[in-house]
Amino acid sequence: MLNESELQEAAFEYVVGTLPADERAEFEAHMARTPKLAQIVQQWEEKLVGLTYEVKPVSPDPNTLRKIKARIAPEIQRVSKPNLLDRILPWKWATSVAFALFLVVSMVHFSGIQNPTKPNADYLAVLLDQTEQPVLTALTATEGSTLWLKWEKWSAPENRSLQLWAKSRRDGEIRPLLVFGQQQLNEITLDEATLRLIQDSSHLIITEEEVGGSAIDEPSDVVIATGVCIRLKETQGKV
């Protein structure tokens, strides 16, 4: 068992790069089991990265990006949400809960082939319209502080606003999350209250409302899309 100063020294040598191959491998195995060591490594990385300011940039080979894209293309196809949706359209609407779980399990399974590391995404919802086409994938990441939005379809209605709602899994109440403006929004920093609403939600819903959102904090009947909200980390832990 290494003490604090030995951990610091080992982490420093790992980050600087002076460890021989066998010691590097041993260190990485130790780091995988020791969060404290990983944290010290990150601290040294932040301290030393300033040295790269002295490195002159070198234009990459024009083919390098093409090779990267060729290698990730099959992966995109395998985890692509629309493709999965298309494949299971006949039954997914009736069993939306099962569908959503299937989607997450599929994502974890497929990404696991390429990458054994679990994502740090927390909550996921795929919102489908009435024709069962995906409209929006919402994902909280960065330990819950950011909501990422991937729009499959975006059209801001004239003189109306789209509003996102969370249906509580606890009491079934539908509460407002945010109102979209005319511009497509792809990332939102969440405050504590909004994050709690998402964490508690069973479904996310998008409705069309008057400009600026529902005045009475209740959704209209014009539902644009809806989707089951899934706690990704818990689901992954069970897979």
Partner: protein, 187 residues
């Protein structure tokens, strides 16, 4: 911006990866090239690193590390692994005279460049006040991938002496850097 693009990569957005590549590949390729001394090998490492960045984008935690730190660490570790696994060191060119380094403008954003500049300034203030052999060891190892054995050879010292420099120097450097950070907070 880089944080946002990494988030989009986590959602399998290939356009975001391309934008991320456009913004950082010259800088990251420069980091790999400095370690490996070969453009063929640096491009190989760059390719592998971007696959890793793509696959692990969802594990990137902005609250713990800056995007450029995270990405450049992936590239450096890949480059060092390549050197060590092949039990060799680079055919080191003279970096200053090498025509490869043909004044490519820094692709990083002004904000990222300024961040690196500030970190470099803090680090330099500390390193320049320390034992010269330690400073040289850190520069050669971090930027050019020297192992302990290679440091011993080039700095004309035995292996235990090099280990001792690194051990004692790292503690002093940590203390100095933390002092710098505290001062910058006070300022």
């Amino acid at each position: 911006m880089l944080e946002y693009l990494l988030g989009r990569c986590a959602l399998n957005d290939q356009a975001a990866l391309e934008r991320l590549y456009d913004m950082t590949s010259s800088y990251l390729n420069g980091v790999a090239y400095r370690v490996l001394g070969s453009t063929d090998e640096s491009n190989d490492v760059l390719q592998e690193a971007f696959i890793q960045i793509w696959q692990n984008a969802s594990t990137y935690a902005a609250s713990k590390t800056k995007p450029l730190t995270w990405m450049s660490s992936i590239v450096r570790y890949r480059a060092i692994d390549k050197l060590r696994s092949e039990s060799r060191h680079q055919n080191r060119p003279d970096h200053d005279e090498d025509e490869i380094l043909n004044n490519v403008a820094s692709p990083n954003s002004e904000e990222d460049n300024y961040l690196l500049y500030r970190l470099n300034e803090q680090l330099r203030k500390c390193l320049d006040g320390m034992n010269e052999k330690f400073r040289k060891s850190v520069e050669l190892a971090y930027l050019q991938g020297f192992s302990r054995e290679e440091l011993a050879q080039v700095l004309d010292a035995n292996l235990n002496t090099v280990k001792s420099w690194l051990r004692r120097g790292s503690a002093t450097l940590k203390q100095c850097m933390e002092g710098q950070e505290e001062n910058s907070h006070v300022e």
